[in-house]
Amino acid sequence: MIDRRKFLGTVALGTASAAFLAACGQSSSPAQTGSAEKPVTLNYSWWGNDDRAERTRKAIALFESKNPDIKVAGNFTDFGGYWPKRATEAAGGGLPDVMQFDLSYLRDYGQRNQLLDLGTVKINTDAFDKSLLPSGQIRGKTYGIPTSTNTFAVYYDPAKLASLGIAEPDGTWNYKEFNAFLAEVGAKGNGTLFGSSDYTGVWWMFNIWLRQNNIQAFTEDGKLGFSKDDLKKWWNLTADLRGTGAIISEERVTQLLPKSPFASNSTVAEVNWDNFMAGYLSDSGAKELKLVPVPSDDPDNLGLFLKPTMLMSASAKTKYKDQAGRFIDFMVNDPEVGQIFKTSRGLPASKTQRDGTTFEGTDKLVVDYGASVEKYLKDAPEPPIVGFGTLEASFKRVASDVNYGKLTVDGAVDTWFKEAEDLIKQNA
């Protein structure tokens, strides 16, 4: 492992010195600016699926045509593989110039001085909702600009429901009713079609449930804000559904990876962020998918909030700060970029971009959903703690062990709490 780290370090050093030598060679023009004849190349890394790959390719082409002095070399993986790669690069000092970033990892990198303070470059944030920008800021420095916002929802496939003869849900439901809905799908699905994957394994759904019960997930000083009993209650919500057709078996979920069961047409419903619509449609090939609010036992408090879907960040060590700033500004503000991505990144955060985008068909569904739950939206939760990405992953893993029958709910709660407390102590 260390070999690789050193190796990357060496490679980075080699590349850097090569670039340095190259820069020395052309003493007539400064190294930091490109021209149409000699454009500088920005490395841009992002996560996503094929759908986003195509949209990103178009956006980059557009940027390059408008900025002939900059070339953008894109590079993408899925979300899971994205972070180990960035960690390796960060250790070697070679983070890409510009990166797509997630709230879960912003502290890990920002607090450790790996990211460029975007306050030092020219990015226009006039068109942003002022309550949204702090989510990309840590200790007064801006490490990420939100591209867009999303909120949580229950997805369902109306065609599949119709084929089972089940009425479409209207989204005013409590957990008991939601479970009953999944159970009905399971009963009629006959072992080929299932309700959904176990929604209690999704961290953000748990977070929303906590908010519905007026519990904070994390305290101000970065500790857990909920108790073992809370988590026990949560994981027991689907205790009766596990092993039935209401919840797709973990064996199948694993087989279908990296696609989710919903995206591979194995389930009728799934809880997720509302910007997954485009990805789900392209992965599943379904004609139409619909969105309804998450269940809540308190009809006045759905626990929902707007979260930055993703942020644009730059490496603290980039040699092309201004160009990185221009690219980020373009990606978050340009109306044509909005037209390219539609709602696949969520609703554009910049009003300029939002107003310049026409939403039709399924994209309109996403926008309408956002509007329909607007009155329930509360402040976004505190920026997650350092190491949150690890916690989120272990939450999913431990919940999946419960579905495999390898752990009881009580055992799972103990396991997760031990890991979480260990991690919090580690990063304190």
């Binding site: 492992m1 260390i2 070999d3 780290r5 050193k6 190796f7 060496t10 899971g80 593989g81 972070w83 180990p84 960690a87 390796t88 960060a90 250790a91 890990d108 990198y109 450790r112 001085n113 790996q114 078996s249 973990e250 064996e251 199948r252 979920v253 694993t254 087989q255 990876l257 990296p258 190491g387 990405g389 690890t390 992953a393 893993r397 999946s400 062990d401 495999y404 390898k406 396991t415 991690l423 580690q426 990063n427």
Partner: protein, 316 residues
């Protein structure tokens, strides 16, 4: 003049020698010069990182901040970490079952390919082929598809009335799948076995046939003892390789060691600790523990080898 009376005396008695040793010195210099690129690489890319990882294993290091010295804490907490213990169990299972099976397959096929038959050259290449591509990412992906739900393996077994479903998602089947994957890559030890088999004098078998020995007897009393140094070599190498399994497990489990931790091999957990959880010190401690354990196992192999490995020229 005072420094080397021996030298001058020797030069007096044997005038040819200094020239020879000077030439030897030049040879050595040339040798080291040619070795230099490798030596530099070895020191910079292997020895250096190993020393730094030894240091890091005693620290709390998150890749970004300077390492903090914490003594043996990493090593102590390893043994309180359930996932670590799970990874040890998974890896041991793989080594203990996978390695002997792989060697048995390699030996059996080597013996088949050793007989004189038409087109043996073709068969040898054909059987070696999987090992050429076996360690690659693409094969792990193919393997995953083959053992998935409704994959060829599932369908093939269903044809015989065995309904196991997909293996990839079933924690009870993944180990079997991983072991099959390694057994299938028997090529490297097979080639070495084949070379060993060719060294056994044919008259030993002829003499045994004359005395009326059957194939089992011949195998037990001629092939096995004559081949034992080669078997020992293969056993040692394959055991060490088995401890290092990473790429195929990483691909098949999407880098998570799932389902339910059933493919959480030691090196995979080490990787996750280091690069997903940013606990490089902990991962370094794991790496060094692995080095020590593999070292001890190698030592045990060498100690026990005296009782069953026969080298030609041995008194026994």
């Amino acid at each position: 003049m005072t420094q080397s009376p021996t030298l001058s005396r020797r030069s007096a008695s044997a005038p040819a020698q200094p020239r020879k040793s000077r030439r030897r010195g030049a040879d050595a210099r040339a040798g080291y010069t040619f070795l230099l690129p490798w030596l530099l690489g070895f020191i910079a890319l292997t020895v250096g990182p190993m020393i730094s990882s030894l240091y890091l294993s005693f620290t709390n290091y998150n890749l970004f901040d300077a390492p903090k010295w914490i003594g043996f804490d990493n090593y102590v907490s390893l043994f309180q970490d359930e996932r670590f213990l799970q990874s040890v169990g998974v890896t041991m299972q793989y080594v203990v079952f996978g390695t002997p099976l792989k060697l048995a397959a390699a030996l059996a096929i080597a013996m088949l390919l050793n007989s004189k038959r038409k087109g043996q050259g073709f068969y040898r290449s054909a059987f070696y082929a999987p090992s050429l591509i076996g360690a690659s990412v693409s094969i792990a992906i193919v393997w995953k598809a083959m053992f998935g739900d409704s994959g060829p393996v599932d369908q093939g077994l269903s044809f015989f009335g065995i309904n196991l479903g997909g293996w990839v998602g079933n924690p009870n089947m993944t180990m079997g799948m991983m072991i099959l994957l390694t057994v299938w890559q028997f090529g490297a030890p097979m080639v070495i076995f084949l070379a060993g088999l060719k060294q056994i004098p044919a008259d030993l078998y002829e003499a045994a046939s004359m005395d009326g020995a059957g194939p089992v007897r011949k195998f037990m009393n001629i092939t096995w003892p004559m081949l034992s140094p080669v078997i020992f070599f293969n056993l040692l190498m394959e055991t060490i390789h088995a401890f290092q399994i990473f790429a195929s497990a990483y691909i098949i489990s999407n880098g998570e060691g799932g389902p339910a931790g059933s493919t959480l091999f030691y090196t995979l957990y080490l990787y996750l600790r280091g690069f997903s959880d940013f606990r490089m010190g902990y991962a370094s401690a794991m790496a060094w523990l692995l080095v020590i354990v593999v070292g001890i196992i190698t030592l045990i192999f060498f100690k026990t080898s005296k009782s069953w490995v026969h080298y030609s020229g041995d008194a026994k």
